[in-house]
Homo-oligomer: 155 residues x 2
Amino acid sequence: MRQFKLFAIPALLGALAVSSAALAQGQPSKGEQLLKYRKAVYQAIAWNFGPMGAMAQGKAPFDAAEFSMRAGRVAALTPMLAESYSAESQGVTGSKAKPELWTSRADFDAKMKDLVERSAALAKVAAGGDEAKSKAAFFDAANTCKACHDKFKAD
Amino acid sequence: MRQFKLFAIPALLGALAVSSAALAQGQPSKGEQLLKYRKAVYQAIAWNFGPMGAMAQGKAPFDAAEFSMRAGRVAALTPMLAESYSAESQGVTGSKAKPELWTSRADFDAKMKDLVERSAALAKVAAGGDEAKSKAAFFDAANTCKACHDKFKAD
Protein backbone atom coordinates (compact mmCIF):
# COMPACT_ATOMS: atom_id res chain seq x y z
CA MET A 1 0.00 0.00 0.00
CA ARG A 2 2.77 2.41 0.93
CA GLN A 3 4.75 1.54 -2.21
CA PHE A 4 1.90 2.57 -4.45
CA LYS A 5 1.43 5.87 -2.69
CA LEU A 6 5.15 6.61 -2.84
CA PHE A 7 5.12 6.45 -6.60
CA ALA A 8 4.02 10.07 -6.91
CA ILE A 9 6.32 11.52 -4.22
CA PRO A 10 9.26 12.43 -6.50
CA ALA A 11 6.91 14.55 -8.64
CA LEU A 12 5.57 16.22 -5.51
CA LEU A 13 9.07 17.00 -4.26
CA GLY A 14 10.04 18.38 -7.65
CA ALA A 15 7.03 20.65 -7.61
CA LEU A 16 7.91 21.84 -4.11
CA ALA A 17 11.49 22.64 -5.02
CA VAL A 18 10.96 24.57 -8.23
CA SER A 19 8.16 27.08 -8.70
CA SER A 20 6.47 27.53 -12.06
CA ALA A 21 8.03 31.01 -12.31
CA ALA A 22 11.48 29.49 -11.86
CA LEU A 23 10.79 26.93 -14.56
CA ALA A 24 9.73 29.66 -16.98
CA GLN A 25 12.98 31.54 -16.39
CA GLY A 26 15.35 28.61 -15.99
CA GLN A 27 16.56 27.10 -12.74
CA PRO A 28 17.16 29.77 -10.06
CA SER A 29 20.66 30.05 -8.65
CA LYS A 30 21.38 28.82 -5.12
CA GLY A 31 21.62 32.47 -4.06
CA GLU A 32 18.21 33.24 -5.55
CA GLN A 33 16.71 30.23 -3.80
CA LEU A 34 18.27 31.32 -0.51
CA LEU A 35 16.88 34.84 -0.93
CA LYS A 36 13.41 33.47 -1.65
CA TYR A 37 13.59 31.34 1.49
CA ARG A 38 14.89 34.28 3.51
CA LYS A 39 12.05 36.54 2.39
CA ALA A 40 9.51 33.82 3.13
CA VAL A 41 10.81 33.41 6.68
CA TYR A 42 10.85 37.18 7.27
CA GLN A 43 7.30 37.37 5.92
CA ALA A 44 6.12 34.66 8.31
CA ILE A 45 7.92 36.38 11.20
CA ALA A 46 6.33 39.73 10.33
CA TRP A 47 2.86 38.18 10.14
CA ASN A 48 3.16 36.84 13.68
CA PHE A 49 5.10 39.81 15.04
CA GLY A 50 2.45 42.31 13.94
CA PRO A 51 -0.40 41.30 16.27
CA MET A 52 2.03 41.10 19.21
CA GLY A 53 3.20 44.61 18.35
CA ALA A 54 -0.35 45.92 18.31
CA MET A 55 -0.96 44.39 21.75
CA ALA A 56 2.38 45.58 23.13
CA GLN A 57 1.63 49.12 21.99
CA GLY A 58 -1.90 49.08 23.42
CA LYS A 59 -3.51 49.27 19.97
CA ALA A 60 -5.22 45.93 20.53
CA PRO A 61 -6.41 44.30 23.77
CA PHE A 62 -3.86 41.92 25.31
CA ASP A 63 -4.81 38.30 24.60
CA ALA A 64 -2.37 36.08 26.47
CA ALA A 65 -3.19 32.95 24.46
CA GLU A 66 -2.75 34.63 21.09
CA PHE A 67 0.35 36.49 22.26
CA SER A 68 1.95 33.24 23.41
CA MET A 69 0.97 31.39 20.22
CA ARG A 70 2.54 34.08 18.05
CA ALA A 71 5.63 34.35 20.24
CA GLY A 72 6.12 30.60 19.90
CA ARG A 73 5.87 30.85 16.14
CA VAL A 74 8.38 33.69 15.94
CA ALA A 75 10.77 31.72 18.17
CA ALA A 76 10.48 28.75 15.78
CA LEU A 77 11.06 30.96 12.73
CA THR A 78 14.03 33.13 13.72
CA PRO A 79 16.54 30.22 13.81
CA MET A 80 15.68 29.58 10.14
CA LEU A 81 17.15 32.90 9.04
CA ALA A 82 20.84 32.12 9.54
CA GLU A 83 20.93 29.45 6.82
CA SER A 84 19.44 31.93 4.34
CA TYR A 85 22.44 34.23 4.79
CA SER A 86 25.01 31.65 3.71
CA ALA A 87 27.84 32.94 1.52
CA GLU A 88 26.14 31.81 -1.70
CA SER A 89 23.51 34.50 -1.20
CA GLN A 90 26.02 37.37 -1.21
CA GLY A 91 25.19 39.96 -3.86
CA VAL A 92 22.04 38.28 -5.17
CA THR A 93 19.65 40.67 -6.92
CA GLY A 94 16.63 41.74 -4.89
CA SER A 95 18.28 41.57 -1.49
CA LYS A 96 18.16 44.53 0.88
CA ALA A 97 21.32 43.37 2.64
CA LYS A 98 23.93 46.15 2.72
CA PRO A 99 27.49 45.25 1.65
CA GLU A 100 28.49 45.77 5.30
CA LEU A 101 26.69 42.53 6.17
CA TRP A 102 29.40 40.60 4.34
CA THR A 103 32.34 42.69 5.54
CA SER A 104 31.18 42.77 9.18
CA ARG A 105 29.99 39.22 9.30
CA ALA A 106 30.85 38.58 12.96
CA ASP A 107 28.77 41.58 14.01
CA PHE A 108 25.87 40.44 11.84
CA ASP A 109 26.06 36.92 13.24
CA ALA A 110 26.07 38.29 16.79
CA LYS A 111 22.99 40.36 16.06
CA MET A 112 21.26 37.33 14.53
CA LYS A 113 22.14 35.35 17.66
CA ASP A 114 20.58 38.15 19.76
CA LEU A 115 17.37 37.87 17.75
CA VAL A 116 17.19 34.11 18.18
CA GLU A 117 17.87 34.34 21.92
CA ARG A 118 15.46 37.20 22.56
CA SER A 119 12.69 35.59 20.57
CA ALA A 120 13.18 32.36 22.53
CA ALA A 121 13.04 34.38 25.76
CA LEU A 122 9.89 36.12 24.52
CA ALA A 123 8.18 32.78 23.86
CA LYS A 124 9.13 31.52 27.31
CA VAL A 125 7.87 34.66 29.06
CA ALA A 126 4.70 34.80 26.94
CA ALA A 127 3.89 31.20 27.86
CA GLY A 128 3.61 32.43 31.45
CA GLY A 129 0.82 34.80 30.44
CA ASP A 130 1.95 37.91 32.36
CA GLU A 131 0.99 40.99 30.37
CA ALA A 132 3.67 43.42 31.52
CA LYS A 133 6.47 40.87 31.29
CA SER A 134 5.27 39.69 27.87
CA LYS A 135 5.22 43.23 26.51
CA ALA A 136 8.68 43.98 27.90
CA ALA A 137 10.06 40.80 26.35
CA PHE A 138 8.42 41.73 23.06
CA PHE A 139 10.20 45.09 22.97
CA ASP A 140 13.49 43.39 23.86
CA ALA A 141 13.04 41.14 20.82
CA ALA A 142 11.87 43.98 18.58
CA ASN A 143 14.96 45.97 19.49
CA THR A 144 17.16 43.16 18.18
CA CYS A 145 15.32 43.42 14.84
CA LYS A 146 15.91 47.15 14.77
CA ALA A 147 19.58 46.93 15.75
CA CYS A 148 20.28 44.68 12.79
CA HIS A 149 18.09 46.58 10.30
CA ASP A 150 19.74 49.88 11.23
CA LYS A 151 23.17 48.57 10.40
CA PHE A 152 22.68 45.96 7.71
CA LYS A 153 19.40 46.60 5.85
CA ALA A 154 19.13 49.10 3.01
CA ASP A 155 16.12 51.45 3.05
CA MET B 1 17.02 53.46 28.42
CA ARG B 2 14.29 51.17 27.20
CA GLN B 3 11.95 54.12 26.57
CA PHE B 4 14.41 55.71 24.17
CA LYS B 5 14.87 52.50 22.24
CA LEU B 6 11.12 51.97 22.01
CA PHE B 7 10.69 55.25 20.20
CA ALA B 8 11.49 53.66 16.84
CA ILE B 9 9.47 50.46 17.29
CA PRO B 10 6.20 51.70 15.74
CA ALA B 11 8.08 52.56 12.52
CA LEU B 12 9.68 49.12 12.53
CA LEU B 13 6.33 47.41 12.97
CA GLY B 14 4.82 49.49 10.19
CA ALA B 15 7.66 48.46 7.90
CA LEU B 16 7.13 44.82 8.79
CA ALA B 17 3.40 44.93 8.14
CA VAL B 18 3.37 46.69 4.79
CA SER B 19 5.86 45.96 2.02
CA SER B 20 7.02 48.70 -0.33
CA ALA B 21 5.19 46.98 -3.20
CA ALA B 22 1.97 47.10 -1.21
CA LEU B 23 2.48 50.82 -0.52
CA ALA B 24 2.98 51.51 -4.23
CA GLN B 25 -0.29 49.75 -5.09
CA GLY B 26 -2.36 50.76 -2.08
CA GLN B 27 -2.99 48.69 1.02
CA PRO B 28 -3.41 44.97 0.23
CA SER B 29 -6.71 43.37 1.20
CA LYS B 30 -6.86 40.98 4.15
CA GLY B 31 -7.21 38.13 1.65
CA GLU B 32 -4.10 39.24 -0.24
CA GLN B 33 -2.16 39.46 3.02
CA LEU B 34 -3.33 35.98 4.00
CA LEU B 35 -2.29 34.59 0.62
CA LYS B 36 1.15 36.18 0.95
CA TYR B 37 1.55 34.63 4.39
CA ARG B 38 0.32 31.27 3.11
CA LYS B 39 2.80 31.25 0.25
CA ALA B 40 5.62 32.24 2.59
CA VAL B 41 4.83 29.37 4.95
CA TYR B 42 4.60 26.87 2.07
CA GLN B 43 7.91 28.17 0.73
CA ALA B 44 9.60 27.67 4.10
CA ILE B 45 8.08 24.18 4.39
CA ALA B 46 9.29 23.27 0.89
CA TRP B 47 12.80 24.50 1.64
CA ASN B 48 13.10 22.20 4.63
CA PHE B 49 11.13 19.34 3.07
CA GLY B 50 13.40 19.15 0.04
CA PRO B 51 16.61 17.91 1.71
CA MET B 52 14.61 15.36 3.73
CA GLY B 53 13.07 14.14 0.47
CA ALA B 54 16.48 13.75 -1.12
CA MET B 55 17.66 11.69 1.86
CA ALA B 56 14.46 9.64 2.02
CA GLN B 57 14.79 8.77 -1.66
CA GLY B 58 18.48 7.87 -1.37
CA LYS B 59 19.57 10.80 -3.53
CA ALA B 60 21.60 12.23 -0.65
CA PRO B 61 23.30 10.44 2.26
CA PHE B 62 21.18 10.22 5.40
CA ASP B 63 22.30 12.80 7.96
CA ALA B 64 20.30 12.20 11.13
CA ALA B 65 21.09 15.62 12.62
CA GLU B 66 20.06 17.54 9.54
CA PHE B 67 17.02 15.34 8.98
CA SER B 68 15.84 15.97 12.54
CA MET B 69 16.51 19.71 12.33
CA ARG B 70 14.47 20.02 9.14
CA ALA B 71 11.70 17.78 10.46
CA GLY B 72 11.44 20.02 13.53
CA ARG B 73 11.17 23.09 11.33
CA VAL B 74 8.46 21.57 9.17
CA ALA B 75 6.54 20.55 12.31
CA ALA B 76 6.72 24.15 13.54
CA LEU B 77 5.58 25.52 10.17
CA THR B 78 2.61 23.33 9.25
CA PRO B 79 0.37 24.59 12.09
CA MET B 80 0.78 28.10 10.63
CA LEU B 81 -1.08 27.17 7.44
CA ALA B 82 -4.60 26.88 8.86
CA GLU B 83 -4.85 30.58 9.71
CA SER B 84 -3.89 31.48 6.14
CA TYR B 85 -6.96 29.67 4.82
CA SER B 86 -9.46 31.75 6.80
CA ALA B 87 -12.65 32.71 4.96
CA GLU B 88 -11.30 36.16 4.02
CA SER B 89 -8.84 34.51 1.65
CA GLN B 90 -11.53 32.81 -0.46
CA GLY B 91 -11.25 33.75 -4.13
CA VAL B 92 -8.20 35.98 -3.80
CA THR B 93 -6.26 36.38 -7.05
CA GLY B 94 -3.08 34.32 -7.30
CA SER B 95 -4.24 31.41 -5.18
CA LYS B 96 -4.03 27.87 -6.49
CA ALA B 97 -6.83 26.73 -4.18
CA LYS B 98 -9.60 25.01 -6.13
CA PRO B 99 -13.20 26.12 -5.46
CA GLU B 100 -13.73 22.68 -3.88
CA LEU B 101 -11.60 23.79 -0.95
CA TRP B 102 -14.36 26.16 0.12
CA THR B 103 -17.27 23.82 -0.63
CA SER B 104 -15.64 20.77 1.03
CA ARG B 105 -14.18 22.64 3.94
CA ALA B 106 -14.50 19.84 6.48
CA ASP B 107 -12.53 17.51 4.21
CA PHE B 108 -9.87 20.16 3.67
CA ASP B 109 -9.61 20.84 7.39
CA ALA B 110 -9.26 17.10 8.07
CA LYS B 111 -6.45 16.86 5.52
CA MET B 112 -4.73 19.87 7.06
CA LYS B 113 -5.03 18.21 10.47
CA ASP B 114 -3.42 15.08 9.00
CA LEU B 115 -0.50 17.17 7.76
CA VAL B 116 0.02 18.80 11.15
CA GLU B 117 -0.18 15.47 12.97
CA ARG B 118 2.08 13.59 10.55
CA SER B 119 4.68 16.33 10.52
CA ALA B 120 4.69 16.34 14.33
CA ALA B 121 5.11 12.56 14.28
CA LEU B 122 7.92 12.90 11.74
CA ALA B 123 9.76 15.37 13.99
CA LYS B 124 9.38 13.04 16.96
CA VAL B 125 10.63 10.00 15.05
CA ALA B 126 13.47 11.95 13.42
CA ALA B 127 14.66 13.14 16.83
CA GLY B 128 15.34 9.47 17.61
CA GLY B 129 17.78 9.29 14.70
CA ASP B 130 16.70 5.93 13.23
CA GLU B 131 17.14 6.06 9.46
CA ALA B 132 14.46 3.60 8.35
CA LYS B 133 11.85 4.95 10.77
CA SER B 134 12.68 8.53 9.84
CA LYS B 135 12.27 7.82 6.13
CA ALA B 136 8.98 5.98 6.67
CA ALA B 137 7.65 8.88 8.75
CA PHE B 138 8.77 11.28 6.04
CA PHE B 139 6.74 9.45 3.40
CA ASP B 140 3.74 9.36 5.73
CA ALA B 141 3.94 13.15 6.01
CA ALA B 142 4.59 13.63 2.28
CA ASN B 143 1.51 11.57 1.47
CA THR B 144 -0.64 14.02 3.48
CA CYS B 145 0.74 16.85 1.28
CA LYS B 146 -0.14 14.88 -1.84
CA ALA B 147 -3.61 13.89 -0.65
CA CYS B 148 -4.54 17.54 -0.17
CA HIS B 149 -2.85 18.81 -3.37
CA ASP B 150 -4.60 16.13 -5.46
CA LYS B 151 -8.01 17.29 -4.33
CA PHE B 152 -7.68 20.98 -3.58
CA LYS B 153 -4.74 22.46 -5.50
CA ALA B 154 -5.04 23.55 -9.14
CA ASP B 155 -2.22 22.51 -11.49
